[in-house]
């Protein structure tokens, strides 16, 4: 007869809820805590579940015993009070605030801008507008990451587009390459090196050169450890679709028939 240790069974969501509410049996409490220390990702899972409980508390969706247990925890846990404040505030957001936030043109800080450039072959016919498209394609598990592009001095072919990067905390190393038509060219890492950390100010010093004609895809790959070009290519895949091991973001610059 095979004896399966009770200690090894992964805890369920109801068990974790009970743990967070301080209502779990000792054996369940022990299992949750072992998981918490053996698997780092469990901390985020528990904190996310705690936020769900706070939301249910605000909406009066917890049953009597759970509600009372949550209230007891709230009385002595300043962090939980902060969680509740955020949930209450977000629920109380006025309709106008939601509408403002949803508008796609709303930008702060490093905003992407429209610029005009005349392709040599079409200069006499029309102005082409090179528009950075907000195709935020983030692949891979992990926290949100940000990549923004903005023109430095000139947005004409040969000019430079700067990159502003915000890496997920758990994936601070960055590799950047550009795909133009079917050709790839690397910004970083160098051929004999591995990827480095995102600069403290988030600004990539080199930038990307505006092409003579679009589109141009800028791929930014965030990883937990330094990667060589070969390792980045393996992680991203031949189809440039990414994998759970990295956070992959694509930004596209493409010409658009304009005024």
């Amino acid at each position: 007869m095979k004896i399966v240790s009770e200690e090894r069974r992964e805890t369920t969501e109801p068990e974790r809820r009970a743990y967070l509410l301080g209502r779990a049996e000792e054996a369940v409490q022990a299992r949750v805590e072992v998981e918490l220390f053996e698997r780092p990702e469990v901390l985020e899972e528990l904190l996310a579940l705690e936020q769900d409980l706070a939301e249910a508390f605000v909406r009066d969706a917890l049953d009597g015993a759970d509600r009372a247990a949550f209230a007891r925890r709230l009385a002595t846990d300043p962090r939980l009070q902060d969680t509740l404040r955020v949930i209450q505030a977000l629920d109380a957001a006025p309709r106008e605030a939601r509408a403002d936030a949803a508008r796609p043109e709303t930008r702060r800080g490093w905003s992407t801008r429209r610029w005009l450039w005349a392709a040599p072959a079409l200069a006499a016919l029309a102005l082409l507008v090179l528009v950075p498209r907000d195709e935020f394609t983030a692949k891979g598990a992990g926290e949100p990451a940000q990549v923004e592009l903005t023109c430095l001095s000139t947005c004409e072919p040969g000019g430079r587009v700067a990159l502003r990067l915000e890496a997920p905390p758990a994936r601070p190393y960055v590799a950047i390459f550009v795909a133009e038509r079917s050709a790839l060219s690397w910004l970083t890492p160098a051929s004999d090196a591995a990827s480095g950390r995102v600069p403290a100010d988030g600004l990539w010093p080199e930038g990307v050169v505006v092409p003579a004609s679009g589109p141009l895809d800028v791929y930014v790959v965030f990883s937990a450890a330094p990667l060589t070009r070969k390792a980045v290519a393996a992680a991203v895949g031949d189809d440039l679709s990414g994998s759970p091991e990295v956070t992959l973001i694509r930004r596209r610059l493409e010409p658009e028939a304009g005024e």
Binding site: Y19, L20, G22, E33, V34, L36, F37, E38, P40, L43, E44, L46, L47, A48, Q51, D52, R59, A71, R72, R73, L74, A75, T76, D77, R79, L80, Q81, D82, T83, L84, R85, V86, I87, Q88, A89, L90, D91, A92, A93, P94, A97, R98, A101, A102, T106, R107, R108, D134, F136, E143, P144, Q146, E166, A170
Partner: protein, 193 residues
């Protein structure tokens, strides 16, 4: 070497050995911070009144052992720290019970903000616009409408509801940290408040 200098040197040695024990050698604080966050969570969920203080006590206890030349043979450093954390929690249980009773005796536990959204506005403004839009949309509606709305967001983003939930969780965590920072600066004695 003076006695103070000797004590200080031993403490530094203990911390250095603790970082090595955690496998921190090249990780620039990431392993240490990750373990500390789990310890804080452990003590919070055990109802400790000062989770951060207790977490630091765990590190101090282990660092002292290492500095004194004791060998730790546990294969998994994090599991060893859990064992020490449980021990420290037991040691402080009486004190915790006394402080918990005092807290429960105070009136209403629910934090009440007269203008909850306004308090968060500055923090929301710090978010990337897409994050701000996402988290506000996530909280829109009520009942069935809210559930359907969230499924619609997940479908638009091409992710599962679980993936959406984790994304929103991280944004809300950022807002919490911002609120704490704002709260700390408002009570800064240097401001004369």
């Amino acid at each position: 070497m003076s006695r103070d200098a000797a004590v200080s040197e031993q403490a530094d040695s203990g911390w250095q050995r603790l970082l090595e024990f955690l496998g921190e050698a090249d990780a620039e604080g990431e392993v240490y911070e990750g373990v500390r966050a789990r310890l804080v969570g452990f003590f919070r969920w055990r109802g400790a009144v000062d989770p951060e203080g207790y977490a630091d006590r765990v590190f101090d206890r282990v660092a002292s052992k290492l500095a004194a030349g004791e060998a730790i043979t546990a294969r998994n450093p994090a599991a060893y720290l859990l064992a020490v954390a449980r021990y420290i929690h037991l040691e402080g249980k009486k004190e915790e019970a006394r402080l918990r009773v005092a807290a429960e005796a105070s009136p209403s536990a629910e934090p009440v903000d007269e203008a909850p959204y306004e308090a968060l506005e500055a923090c929301l403004a710090e978010l990337h616009p897409s994050q701000r839009a996402l988290v506000l949309r996530y909280h829109a509606g009520s009942g069935r409408g809210r559930i359907d709305g969230r499924q619609a967001i997940a479908d638009e983003l091409g992710i599962s509801l679980t993936g959406l939930r984790m994304r929103v969780f991280r944004i809300r965590q950022r807002l919490e940290r911002c609120l704490r920072r704002c709260g700390a600066s408002e009570t800064d004695p240097a401001d004369g408040a």
